[in-house]
């Protein structure tokens, strides 16, 4: 393995549950993934499958009525601090706070609501710098303007003194990225950063994120529901469904030779921008189960074309299909993974 590919964050069997009104929702139900420096890991899945919760768990930004039940999240600092076990840290304690923005940074979906409306952009970026580095205000201001400029915001000097509502959508997201990257973090978690933006702006933002990754060897975890983006940007892919990763591996492995019926169906059901007309689109039959009323065994079984008796056995034992290792890093949670691969697209 090359140097640039070290595992920076290692998540093993993470379970995060949400509590409300006497009910318990297993939003993340046993997720394992690795985020490597210099590589983009795309986490794909439908709304509600648990992708954002996974990112929030890594940053310990869960709401009050949610907690990490089991599993580990280990951050390999690569310096004197050694390996930090994030899941054991106090949520807003000093260690966790020192990691946020400085080691692990996050950007969110809607930059308009994610930025504080009453403070200037420059001030909000400088706030991050001043919180983590021992510099003076003047220095922070200078670096803020440099950051804005580096992110492609024109007239950075003037723009730094403006408010979020005076920016356009794309510029706001660039400002958020500037804020996130200000302390040069080793990991960037991007939670659907372009869903709220126009398609043309989307491309620009992804270019920016990719450029930053290459320049600084940042580890990027990109959450998205857009397979087109995955095809373009991903180095590694993890496909999530109902709180589990049902398939993971390098982008080539997963996209070219999907090993899970869900991934296969997903690839078939979405038109990919740029592939032209005449694509054979088939929606996945059935609908996503109610999280409070889940299938007993394999979560995808009710909608699966490969469903067989062996799957019923899993239902009885109330177990998920085990992780089936195909070559290298390619994994799928399906009893018939190899058959799925053999059947092709």
């Amino acid at each position: 393995m090359e140097n640039g590919q070290d595992v920076v964050i290692s998540v093993k069997n993470l379970k995060t549950f949400f509590y409300s009104d006497q009910r318990c929702n297993r939003a993340v139900n046993g997720v394992s993934l690795d985020i490597r420096s210099g590589r983009t890991l795309c986490v794909v899945g439908e709304s509600g499958c648990g992708k954002s919760v996974t990112a929030a768990s890594i940053m310990q930004l869960l709401p009050r009525l949610a907690r990490i039940e089991e599993g580990e999240i280990v951050y390999r600092t690569g310096d004197a601090r050694g390996d930090i076990r994030i899941h054991e840290l106090r949520r807003n304690g000093r260690t966790m706070r020192s990691l946020r923005a400085k080691d692990i940074a996050m950007i969110f979906q809607d930059p308009l609501t994610a930025l504080n409306p009453v403070y200037r952009i420059g001030g909000q970026i400088a706030e991050t710098l001043l919180a983590h580095e021992r510099i003076r205000k003047k220095e922070a201001r200078r670096r803020t303007i440099d950051l804005l400029h580096a992110m492609g915001i024109p007239q950075a000097e003037k723009r730094a003194d403006q408010y979020p509502h005076e920016y356009s959508g794309g510029m706001r997201q660039r400002a958020m990225i500037a804020m996130a990257m200000s302390c040069a973090p080793r990991v960037l978690l991007a939670d659907e950063p372009t869903t709220a933006l126009d398609v043309t702006i989307q491309a620009q933002i992804f270019d920016l994120i990719d450029r930053l990754r290459r320049e600084r060897n940042t580890a990027v975890m990109l959450i998205t529901h857009d397979m087109g983006v995955v095809c373009e940007l991903a180095d590694d892919v993890a496909v999530m469904y109902m709180g589990n990763i049902i398939e993971s591996g390098t982008a080539r492995e997963v996209l070219k030779t999907p090993a899970h019926p869900y991934t296969k169906a997903l690839l078939k059901s979405i038109p990919i921008l740029g592939r032209g007309a005449g694509q054979d689109i088939r929606p996945i039959r059935g609908s996503t189960p109610d999280p409070y009323d889940r299938p007993k065994g394999c979560q995808f079984a009710p909608r699966c074309d490969y469903r067989r008796e062996a799957c019923l056995a899993l239902d009885e034992r109330r177990e998920l299909p085990p992780e089936e290792r195909i070559e290298g890093a390619h994994m799928a949670r399906c009893l018939f993974a190899r058959e799925v691969i053999r059947d092709g697209t």
């Binding site: 946020r100 923005a101 969110f108 930025l115 504080n116 009453v118 706030e127 983590h132 509502h165």
Partner: protein, 319 residues
């Protein structure tokens, strides 16, 4: 900002004109006129009717309504507010005495209630569901429900009579040399005047904070690794401040109106007490002028609050 102020002032003027018209109309509806104001009832009874009519004519009392209105308005703008029936002093002088007192009381009550109310609301919101939160909620309802004058009586009994910490009433005493000396007299009336405002601000501040803390930018602030206090106050409370200030603006009329009762209890020589005395004595011109004055005070205060809102929230567009 200057444009904003100018625009608002322009909107003021028609409203104030209509107000003066209403006030004058109200004055017309009260029994008596300038002649009865100048002479007492005995002298009036002794004066022959032709003489009364002649004097009325000469005073312009028989002119049509609008002529008299504009004359009156002209006098007002020229600074002549008429004379007090009882003492004969020019009303302007009386107002000059009492307005500063009420301003002092109102500003003090406003500051106390805004600060205390928002701070308590903040604490309530951050410790949501705790004993402190529930206790403050109940205290808030009590504060809204208790009649202000009753609360005043309780405070006088407790703090002035029983404990003797604070004086019972009045504002200025002959022995005072420095300004700070008389602050002791200000504490009790200001707190009592502000009690219902404090309760209202506290409830609203709690609701505004809870609403703000759910917003996305709070999550962003945490994700930047900021300490909790900074997230709560710099990001959370600061944004909630705008709706709180707007609420304070809405409750200003009640605050100024409350001064009528509170000043009477504490013998605070301000506009409110003058108003009450005027109403009791059926001193119609004074009643109407003071009413007009109080409305003006409310309007000016609202303008100031609007300006403050504009400063606090850059999203507010000038209308």
């Amino acid at each position: 900002m200057a444009k904003f102020i100018l625009k608002r002032l322009l909107m003021f003027i028609p409203m104030v004109l209509v107000l003066t018209f209403l006030i004058f109309g109200a004055l017309e509806l009260t029994p008596g006129d300038a002649l009865t104001y100048m002479l007492d009832s005995e002298a009036l009874a002794m004066m022959p009717p032709e003489q009364q009519a002649a004097i009325r004519e000469s005073l312009g009392l028989n002119d049509p309504f609008f002529v008299r209105y504009f004359k009156w308005l002209g006098e007002l703008l020229g600074g002549n507010f008429g004379y007090c029936l009882a003492s004969g002093r020019p009303i302007k002088a009386i107002l000059g005495d009492v307005v500063p007192a009420t301003l002092e009381l109102s500003v003090a009550a406003l500051l106390i209630s805004t600060f205390a109310g928002s701070a308590l609301g903040l604490v309530s919101a951050l410790r949501r569901g705790s004993i402190a939160d529930n206790a403050l909620s109940v205290a808030g309802v009590i504060g809204l429900s208790i009649p202000q004058f009753f609360f005043g009586m309780l405070c006088i009994l407790m703090f002035a009579l029983k404990l003797g910490w604070l004086p019972v009433g009045g504002r200025l005493q002959p022995w005072m040399t420095r300004y700070v000396d008389h602050l002791r007299f200000l504490i009790l009336p200001a707190c009592v005047l502000g009690i219902s405002m404090t309760a209202g601000v506290m409830r609203y501040s709690r609701a505004a904070m809870l609403d703000t803390m759910n917003k996305d930018y709070i999550k962003t602030a945490r994700s930047k690794g900021l300490p909790e206090w900074r997230v709560n106050i710099v990001h959370g409370f600061r944004v909630s401040l705008t709706p709180i200030i707007v609420l304070v603006g809405f409750r200003l009329p009640t605050l100024i109106g409350g001064s009528v009762v509170i000043e009477s209890i504490f013998q605070w020589p301000g506009v409110g007490m003058a108003f009450k005395k005027a109403v009791t004595a059926q001193n119609y011109p004074l009643v109407m002028i003071i009413a007009l004055l109080m409305v003006l005070m409310v309007l000016i205060a609202s303008l100031l609050i609007d300006m403050l809102t504009r400063v606090l929230d850059p999203r507010v567009k000038l209308q």
